[in-house]
């Protein structure tokens, strides 16, 4: 990729040359097409999720088996049931099975239910979970998700935002000091990111909780929790340190390495050398000639990071018993609770589609080479 400095100065003029009506029409047409294509993608993605979550309908068989297994095991311990006449036992058990199958909708064909799941999902009617309850005891998928959203965003936001900005800042610095000791240091440690966050989590727990005993093993708060608001907040922060650190450490070196390499490519462009030769300050070179052309990539990365927080971190949350959305998703998969799986998926799908849609506009705003609805990039 190569862009000369002249090109960076031209967008305003080009825009002025365009007629307002045609630009609006072009953007509207582009937006409409983009929305339709993204919507179709979402529909396909969500329906595939429904099919996969239900194993193409086989989950119905699993549920029927589980209903019987659970019921018979329960009845086996029911002293009253044991003393019923044989004929009444069967009638009673069959009635309970029928009720439960009806409750779960198993009396209807899967294909019909799958389409209903799809419609409910697309219309954001998240409905009720089949097996799971929210932490406060609600069956509404909306509450199951939103009750965990805050804790997830706290963990993922803390870790990822810190990771993102620290990586970029350090990477920028390293890109300017290519070959230095620090540069080599980060390169050397970048393979440590091959290990997942939960792996570091276990070590951090062992060191700081088990041996040094200065941080908690897990959870979101001490039990019993502090009575004051400030004490509560500080206590949550204390519990946040290890899980956030494990997420941070697991990606930090590779993230710095990636950004550093990315910036390095831009740093060696001719126009950067030219700017340096003109005697511009490092800060100015960095801001105008390195950061600006890389802005679309940074924004894309940042946007995806933001919506990526939505998914939580399943294993890390489990290791630290952090009550996040990752655990909810994991439990939903374990329960084959389609409503919850679809609920988390559809929200992520809409967020992703919206992000992709908006990013096109951001690109056009920050990068003059990008033209919405245009057949090609300007040069």
């Amino acid at each position: 990729m190569s862009v000369d400095s002249q090109a960076l100065q031209q967008p305003v003029e080009v825009k002025k040359e365009s007629r307002r009506e045609s630009a609006f029409s072009r953007i509207a047409k582009y937006s409409g097409g983009r929305i339709v294509s993204l919507f179709i993608t979402v529909v396909i993605g969500v329906y595939l999720t429904i099919l996969i979550a239900n194993m193409g309908g086989y989950v119905d068989q699993i549920r029927k088996g589980q209903i019987r297994d659970n019921l018979y095991a329960r009845l086996g311990n029911d002293q009253t049931y044991k003393q019923l006449p044989e004929s009444e036992k069967k009638t009673y058990a069959d009635a309970l099975i029928e009720l439960e199958e009806k409750r779960l909708g198993l009396d209807q064909p899967f294909i019909l239910r799958s389409l209903r799941f799809l419609w409910d999902a697309l219309s954001m009617n998240l409905g009720r979970a089949q097996f799971m309850s929210s932490d406060t005891g609600s069956r509404q998928v909306r509450l199951i998700i939103t009750e965990r959203l805050g804790t997830t965003l706290l963990l993922m936001g803390t870790a990822n935002l810190f990771l993102f900005f620290s990586s970029i800042l350090i990477a920028l610095g390293l890109s300017r000091s290519y070959g230095s000791f620090l540069d080599r240091f980060f390169i050397a440690l970048s393979p440590t990111s091959a290990m997942p966050a939960w792996f570091y989590g276990i070590f951090l727990i062992l060191i700081f909780a088990a041996v040094l005993k200065i941080l908690p093993f897990g959870g979101m708060i001490d039990s019993p929790p502090p009575k004051t608001t400030i004490g509560y907040a500080l206590n949550v922060l204390k519990h946040l340190i290890l899980p956030a650190s494990s997420l941070f450490i697991s990606s930090f070196f590779s993230s710095v390495y990636n950004w550093r390499t990315f910036f390095l490519i831009f740093s060696s462009e001719d126009y950067v050398e030219m700017a340096k030769a003109k005697g511009l300050t490092d800060q100015m070179v960095q801001r105008r000639y390195i950061l600006r052309p890389t802005l679309p990539t940074i924004i894309t990365s940042f946007s995806l990071l933001l919506i990526g927080m939505w998914t939580g971190a399943i294993i890390t949350e489990t290791v630290f018993t952090w009550p996040g959305l990752g655990q909810v998703t994991y439990q939903a998969i374990g329960f084959n609770d389609t409503a919850v799986i679809v609920g988390t998926t559809i929200i992520f799908a809409y967020l992703l589609a919206l992000t992709v849609f908006l990013l096109d506009f951001f690109y056009a705003l920050v990068d003059p080479r990008v033209k919405l609805g245009g057949s090609q990039q300007r040069s």
Partner: protein, 885 residues
């Protein structure tokens, strides 16, 4: 320089790992050598007291009361001290600790957390040998509870599956029986469970009273079906050949295709079913069968083995496991449950395929339905069925596992010998820091608030019930060591049983009598009229009169209504009991404002044996219950009418408030009704329900309604109703939830998203903290045999038997049910069974007569004792080998 930096970094990383690894030496360095000791303890733990039951058989005995004295003596060390212990060692009311703080802890880190001082107790049952070794190595205290018990479920359909046309060798009963010989249960116990499990051959749990009661029969079948691979393989090969299979190049084939055994091996749960499945697969492959090992989760396997049709041929074997969560004092229904079509699982195609002789099936049904006249007849049936079940062998039983909880040595707590700590009602009463009153106990668990909390149809998760039990109270509580009910809030009870039913008693708080006919009084309440909101009497429902098989009469203490209160300060009153009676019917009847279709079937089933209640006295409260439901232990068939709704206690005003929300269609007690009507599932602890209940309570305070006024109006005045609602409002304002219960602990703080909760001591609780303090340690018996290593055939021989506690103290004779010995010949056959002779406390002798030793064959013979004691239900065993020459 560069190399040095890299070296330093590497060293730091290595040091970090080493440092971290150093924290858990326990998990890997435990000396397995010590396990046999543990194993012996485990095997000797099982106890029993049914022999007393056997020896106190009938009405005649009860009338003459020859056992009365014995019973009192038997109870002496435990129950006789209850009245004096309650307040004799402390003035503290409620629990020993100030608070119990629950938090979510993963079982993998629980031991480390206790070691690090971050947790005081992890009462959830752990089951792997690694965890057990880690507990021991860390020097923590632990409980032993009943874990899972494992078996191989066999598909007996065939010999040719309709679905696949493939051969099923296990359609042959002989081949199924032979599987017993090719499985080395001791090997599995040692390799998979580190020796802490107990090999088993039948569905009867080896820790239950029935096992030691009929030990000679169990030992017989255990000897007969002991590991003998060659013998088992020969039988299976013979059956394969008879089915038309051929062995080609060491592999069995049928119609040119390998005989493939589809083995469903569970890969979830505690993970131990994988090595079991692999081991059995290897054994089958040694015979020449081809095994298709399909590793599946419960969800994946259940549609095949329990949900599907075995004739489809989609599986041959399945690694089953079942849980033991209570001391089952009558295991007579196990054979029916596991191995006959009359089982609770009888509707499934698999259980329907269990074809056996009509006589055998009848015997299993009779045992399950307590259809016998005395314990001798039961013993005969039980023993026969244990032997005959091997002719069908629909399951091959492997081992009884163990589960164990762990806690810091500075903590003490009582645990149920089957249900462990968190499954017992006793932990709140006994949990404490040694030598200390007060303190905050940090209590780890796997989950809290799994489902909404309400007593009628709320969360039934074991983790939730663990703390719900702690905030509740009961009319009777189950002795954690024997499984027999003991009075908690009630004072005493009479039990009247129809003459001829083999009901017996162990403790003297029950007065057991027999009558030829038990007539239900005409004015007994037997049903409920939803429209008039009044009870239907026996005379109205059964004009021709009615009888019952059993009647229980409970007596509450004279000061009960003056001393027992709910957590919101409301004193107990008659309406709390009568509301419980009403709610027994109300949700199950169409036309009710709180009708629940899902509850209807269950309620109708539960009411089938019900024959009525009669309130004999309101203060002191004395209530009769008539029923056709009965069991072997009189203590366990006492109906206290305590306001316990299935999932917890509740006061009448809390039920009234909840009924109001349910009737208005705002909330629903059960998940089924909530789903069907699209409303929230009622929770008294948290969530959207709280706001709704708060609004409804405001209505009730503004207009203090008496629920079911046509009936409860006789027990509640408008002023009392107003006071109750005001009390609940004050409780809600203080604690932020509505679950005002009546137990020794109060639900004081609820943090559902943070997944923690805090229970605090109920200072107003009626009992002193030391009430059940005598139950901290089970008085497990340990047996030992000593004698000559050589016995001359034809000459008398004497052996000494020592029965002691785990501390080495002699076990008092008045607490020993029996000391039975079993003499095995050199070929393993059982030669003689008899009782040892009592000499003094803890000391017995076994005299083998000349005639007996004359029957011994030359070689290594074995003498085994089985000891059953009163204070704990688990028997003790010991064996001694000698050479006969």
């Amino acid at each position: 320089m560069k190399k040095s930096i890299y070296l330093i970094i590497s060293l730091v990383l290595v040091l970090t790992m080493v440092l971290a690894a150093c924290t858990t030496p326990a998990e890997t360095e435990t000396p397995v050598v010590e396990e046999p000791v543990e194993e012996e303890v485990v095997e000797e733990e099982p106890v029993e007291e049914e022999e007393v039951v056997e020896e106190e058989p009938t009405e005649e005995v009860v009338e003459e009361e020859p056992t009365e004295e014995v019973v009192e003596e038997e109870m002496g060390p435990m129950l006789a001290s209850v009245p004096t212990a309650n307040g004799t060692t402390t003035t503290r009311k409620g629990t020993w600790v100030d608070e119990v703080a629950f938090s979510i802890v993963d079982s993998d880190s629980a031991i480390t957390q206790i070691q690090a001082g971050a947790l005081d107790i992890y009462p959830v049952g752990m089951s792997t040998v690694d965890q057990f070794n880690a507990i021991k190595a860390a020097g923590l205290e632990n409980s032993f509870g009943g874990g899972l018990y494992y078996e191989i479920t066999i598909n007996p359909v065939g010999p040719i599956f309709e679905g696949t046309g493939k051969l099923n060798p296990f359609a042959s009963a002989k081949a199924r029986e032979a599987l017993n010989w090719i499985i080395d249960r001791d090997y599995i116990n040692q390799e998979v469970y580190g020796g802490i499990a107990t090999p088993k051959f039948t569905p009867i749990h080896t820790s239950l009273p029935d096992y030691s009661k009929y030990i000679e029969t169990f030992r017989e079948v255990e000897a007969k079906y002991a590991y003998d691979f060659d013998k088992g393989a020969a039988v299976i090969e013979e059956e394969l050949a008879a089915m038309g299979a051929e062995k080609v190049d060491g592999k069995w084939t049928y119609e040119g295709e390998p005989v493939v055994i589809i083995f469903l091996i569970r890969n979830d749960s505690d993970g131990t079913r994988i090595p079991i499945g692999d081991y059995v697969s290897n054994q089958l492959e040694l015979i020449g069968l081809t095994v298709d090992r399909q590793y599946k989760t419960s969800a994946e396997a259940s549609p095949l083995w329990v949900g599907g049709n075995p004739a489809d041929g989609l599986w041959h074997l399945y690694t089953g496991a079942w849980s033991a969560t209570a001391i089952d004092r009558d295991a007579g229904d196990d054979l029916q449950f596991f191995e006959t079509p009359s089982s609770a699982y009888g509707s499934t195609a698999l259980w329907q395929s269990y074809a056996a002789d009509a006589d055998y099936l009848q015997m299993a049904d009779d045992l399950a339905n307590v259809n016998y006249t005395d314990m001798e007849q039961r013993a005969e049936m039980f023993k026969r069925s244990i032997v005959e079940r091997f002719e069908y062998s629909y399951r091959v039983w492997i081992v009884d596992g163990k589960s164990f909880a762990a806690w810091d040595p500075k903590v003490s707590v009582a645990y149920d010998l089957m249900a462990g700590v968190d499954g017992s009602a006793f932990w709140p009463y006994t949990l404490r820091f040694d030598g200390q009153e007060g303190g905050v106990m940090r209590f780890g668990t796997n989950a809290v608030f799994n489902d909404p909390i309400n007593a009628v149809a709320g969360s039934n998760w074991a983790f939730d019930q663990s703390w719900i039990r702690a905030i509740g109270d009961y009319g009777v509580v189950t002795n954690p060591f024997t499984g027999i009910a003991m009075p908690q809030r009630i004072e005493k009870a009479d039990v009247v049983v129809q003459t001829g039913l083999p009901v017996t008693q162990t403790y003297d708080w029950v007065n057991l009598t027999f009558e030829d006919t038990i007539t239900v009084p005409e004015d007994a309440w037997v049903d409920w009229d939803v429209e008039s909101q009044t009870f239907i009497t026996a005379a109205e429902k059964w004009p021709e009169g009615a009888t019952a098989l059993r009647k229980s009469v409970v007596y509450y203490p004279a000061d009960f209504f003056q001393t027992v209160t709910w957590h919101d300060g409301s004193p107990f009153d008659m309406a709390d009991f009568v509301m419980g009676m009403i709610m027994t019917f109300e949700p199950g009847y169409e036309g009710s404002a709180i009708y629940d279709e899902a509850a209807a079937a269950t309620i109708q089933s539960a009411l089938a044996p019900f024959k009525g209640w009669k309130i004999l006295s309101e203060d002191p409260l004395i209530v009769e219950t008539y029923s056709d439901f009965w069991g072997l232990d009189a203590e366990n068939i006492v109906n206290t009418l305590w306001p316990e709704y299935g999932y917890g206690n509740a006061s009448w005003h809390l039920i009234a408030l909840s009924n109001m929300a349910d009737a208005k269609g705002e909330l629903a007690y059960s998940a089924d009704k909530a789903d069907a009507s699209g409303v929230e599932w009622l929770s008294w602890a948290s969530g959207p329900s709280i706001e709704i209940l708060a609004a409804d309570l405001a209505e009730l305070i503004a207009n203090p309604t008496i629920p079911y006024e046509a009936t409860l109006g006789a027990y509640i005045t408008p002023e009392e109703a107003a006071a109750r609602y005001a009390n609940l409002q004050a409780f809600y304002e203080e604690y932020g939830h509505f679950y005002a219960n009546c137990g020794p602990l109060i639900l004081s703080e609820v943090y559902p998203v943070e997944q923690t909760l805090v229970l605090k001591n109920n200072d107003n609780y009626v009992d002193f903290a030391d009430k059940w303090s005598l139950f901290t340690e089970p008085k497990v018996a340990v047996a030992e045999i000593d004698g000559a290593g050589r016995v001359t055939i034809g000459e008398a021989a004497t052996f000494d038997v020592f029965v002691s506690t785990e501390d080495g103290d002699a076990y008092p004779q008045n607490e020993v049910s029996f000391v039975k010995y079993l003499l095995f010949n050199a070929d393993g056959s059982l030669l003689e069974v008899a009782e040892a002779t009592f000499v003094e406390d803890g000391y017995y002798t076994i005299e083998l007569s000349e005639e007996t030793t004359g029957k011994l064959a030359s070689g290594a013979c074995k003498l085994e004792v089985a000891v059953s004691v009163i204070p704990v239900a688990l028997p003790a065993f010991a064996a001694f080998e000698f050479v006969a020459e």
